[in-house]
Amino acid sequence: MGRHRRSRVDIEEEVRSHLEHEADALVVEGMTRSEARAEARARFGDVSQAFPPDAWTRRSWVGGVGRLIAELARDAGLALRTLRREPGFTVVAILTLVLGIGLNCALFSFLYSLTMRGLPLPDADRLVTIHQTFAGMPLGHFGSASMKVGDGSRYVNGTSDMVSYPEYLAYRDRARSLSGLAGFASVGATMAGEAALRVSALVVTCSYFQVLRAPVLLGRGLEPGDCGAAGQVPVVVLGYGLWQSRFGGDGGIVGRTIRLDRTRFTVVGVAGRDFTGTGLEEPDLWVPVTMEPALAPDRLRNPDLSWLALVGRLRPGATPEGTATELTGIGRSRDTSYPGRRTTVLVDHATLASGPILAAQVRSSRIGAFSLAGLILLIACLNVASLMLARMPARQRAVRIRRALGAARHQVVGQLLVESLLLAFVGGGMGLALSIWLPGVFARILVPGGLPVDAAPDLRIVGYALGVSLIAALLFGLMPSLETSRIDLASALRSDTPGGGPGPRTYRLRKAVVAAQLAGSLLLLVLAGLFARSFVLEQRADLGFRIDHIYGFRPDLGDEGYSAEQAAAFLDTWKTRVAALPGVQGAALTSALPLDGQSAAVFVRDPNAAAPDFKEGQVFFVYVSPGYFATMGIPILRGAGLPASRPASGEPQPAVIGETMAHRYWPNQEALGQVFAAPNGEPRRVVGIARDAFHGGWQREGWAFFWSAIPPRAFAGTLVVRVAAHADATPEVLAAARQLDSNVLVSVTSLHDVLEERLRPARVAALLYAALGLLALLLAAVGVYGAAAYGVSQRSHEFGVRVALGASRREIRSLVLRQGLLTVGIGVAAGLLAAGVAAQLVRGQLYGIAPLDPPVFLGIAGALVGVAVAAMLKPARRACSLDPAETLRGD
């Protein structure tokens, strides 16, 4: 009996013999030969365990790793078999994880592609965006509060901004650390053709294509020679999308001309398919910046207008920081002609959403988005953990046997963790796939046309998915694994229950998980309820104006070269003709449709005051023609509507103000007849007070608003038309415009569509929360059921004794329910608390209800308790029907 080593062949022979004998036995038991062979194989398990590890694997470090890998592989194989045997558990667990991990990865890859991923251009890591900020500027003109809608004149202190054309030239010519600098601005234009088309044109400096190294499919990109004297070289590079949709991908397009607004441009090239510019908005075509006067108000010569965005390419060795210092120096040298001004230039790596303003917006939304995604991941993990704990009694028998057969606890934990990891990685892999598709969906939810986000996974995204999966595996796997393996051989084997069972500790843990699950699903459901109720209220809300049967028609008169006077004349005639059409109940002009943007300004009571009183806040306004109130159904409460005739020159413009504005500016006196103005602006006289109308839709209290008469030399460019129910006057309204000028392109929207667009984020949010909440609720119900059923089986002996001692069925049932309800109560209380905090965080997005809306909170808490009780009924009934004789015999 020496220590002779048996040969591999000998052991193989033995294993084969074993399998044949087992198969023989199985055939005797009724299987077919092939079934028996497969079953024998399955019963044997991993064949490699029959072979002793080789000498070299036992000693060396390499061997240690090899053995570890072998062990892992064996654990993974065992885990796979276990998971395959329980398809229900596996499918639910994986789906839950796909959702939890997928959502997180999608969010990450969405934000990553916006703010971290370089542009899809050659050597993109050397591309930078450049913004300048000013400090010490005197307070200028407060014409517009919105930086994007503003006319670009500089009124903002300390806010990062774009640059003027002369500033661009200064930076371009003097910066040593940049190998190239390009400026660009987006303008709308009308492209003539059988059907005129609105296009988004990017006016760019002629270095643009070289700096970006943008791919060109046909012809050429713009070249420095294209930027000659203003208006001299009308050339255009078409975007791939426009070339396909409008010109059918015509290969002979180069050299042809197209008309944009009033000017004919020669097509010199078509951009590459994947080139969509450098920002979130995808341009349809590119024209030289020197052609800007043909498409937009001439801004080239104004040194104080911020309108060009900058993108530069760093020279080798240059850093964004060094470049910022150099450019700041160049900017400061220009400050000498602006007393008190101090320029600072900011340089960031170019991404789809780089630059301080966008980055800050993304940053602020990131926290909320990731807390939500983290919460969902946590709930998903809790759900899986609860599922794993639910099958613990079954697993523990196997674990006890493994332990009895010599497995150390860490081996058992390892094996169970490998199972968790397997689940997490399958879930994570599928989640990653989901995350390729979801960011596009996010983008479409945020912006109607979608965003050019590139969600193709790269190393960082895959790394993130891997990390999240690992964390998830630890979150949901570690605790159940430790619990399952928590077997003290002696005491577990001595347990009173036949076959032993997890102790009270585990039971408590399981109840805690169930309570946390309930709290999580309550939180999501409350958020869903709040958003849904807010959505319903918002949809039904009386905004103070009519919505049904109201259409807005907006002609592109500015693009067609109309002066303000010409536009006003066109619109007046058109309005009069439209008002006379059959089926039209009212027509009026406004500078902006409700819900679709309006001007805001700071106003003062005293037109002679030099500085506004900021405490009074902004006032929003639109220009309207006198018929507007009748058309929109806005009642005038006091005074009159706007007069049909213009005031004598020198007189203030008439205005109708809303109740809120009247209360704010003239709280204790009659507002009618008062005069107010923006600083340095035209004065206006209050001629009427109207019921508040919420033109902003989602804005509510404290929202001051007025309707101003259209001042001379200005026009209100949208025609609002109210038509009779079931009438469609659109063709006639458009025909009336064509009669006046056949080149004018009119865009049409119904107020219904505008409202829908506004409400879409709320609806999506409500749906999303509801779906997640219901899923969480379903899993929580399973958890409650499992915990209750398990509790009953644990205490069946006790119940038997109680019944034997004369306890009634009702007493037993209430005993079971009472215990379960304690868990449910703790979960619901915690959930209500968390939901209360979360509701405060989203209060800005709610309409018409307080964040702590009692119907939502109480209704959902009640429903949750109801579901939980329903889930406990069956186990409770089982507890009642226990046969005392049977349970006691189990001893």
Partner: protein, 116 residues
């Protein structure tokens, strides 16, 4: 007894003991031992048959069992294990010490400890 034996005594010994006891009744091949353990535990012990072999190899290395190739009742080649004198002595000596564990395992396996 070596220190290594001490270290391995309790957990691994459980399976070892089951094997030794099975072989006490006579010579048996691996599949037969697996079936015997499974049947005597009324199907509760659903351990993989393959996990039996490291234990058999350990017992053989210690000289507690011996093995030889032979022909089974099914008229197939099989490697038969028998209890050696050393193994039988080991079984007796260790029975007392492992009694507590065997009792416990018997409970798990649903075997009446008194009947063992």
């Amino acid at each position: 007894m070596s220190t290594q034996d001490e270290r391995e005594a309790l957990p691994q010994g459980t399976l070892d003991l089951l094997i030794l006891r099975t072989l006490e009744l006579g010579r048996e091949h691996g599949q037969g031992i697996a079936r015997a353990i499974q049947e005597s535990s009324e199907g509760v012990l659903l351990v993989e048959h393959g996990s039996l072999y490291p234990a058999l190899q350990r017992l053989e290395r210690r000289g507690w069992v011996a093995a030889e190739w032979g022909i089974s009742a099914n008229n197939r080649r099989a490697r038969f294990y028998i209890l050696t004198v050393k193994g039988r002595r080991q079984l007796e000596a260790e029975t007392g010490r492992w009694q507590r564990v065997t009792d416990a395992v018997s409970r798990v396996l649903g075997v009446d400890p008194a009947g063992g």
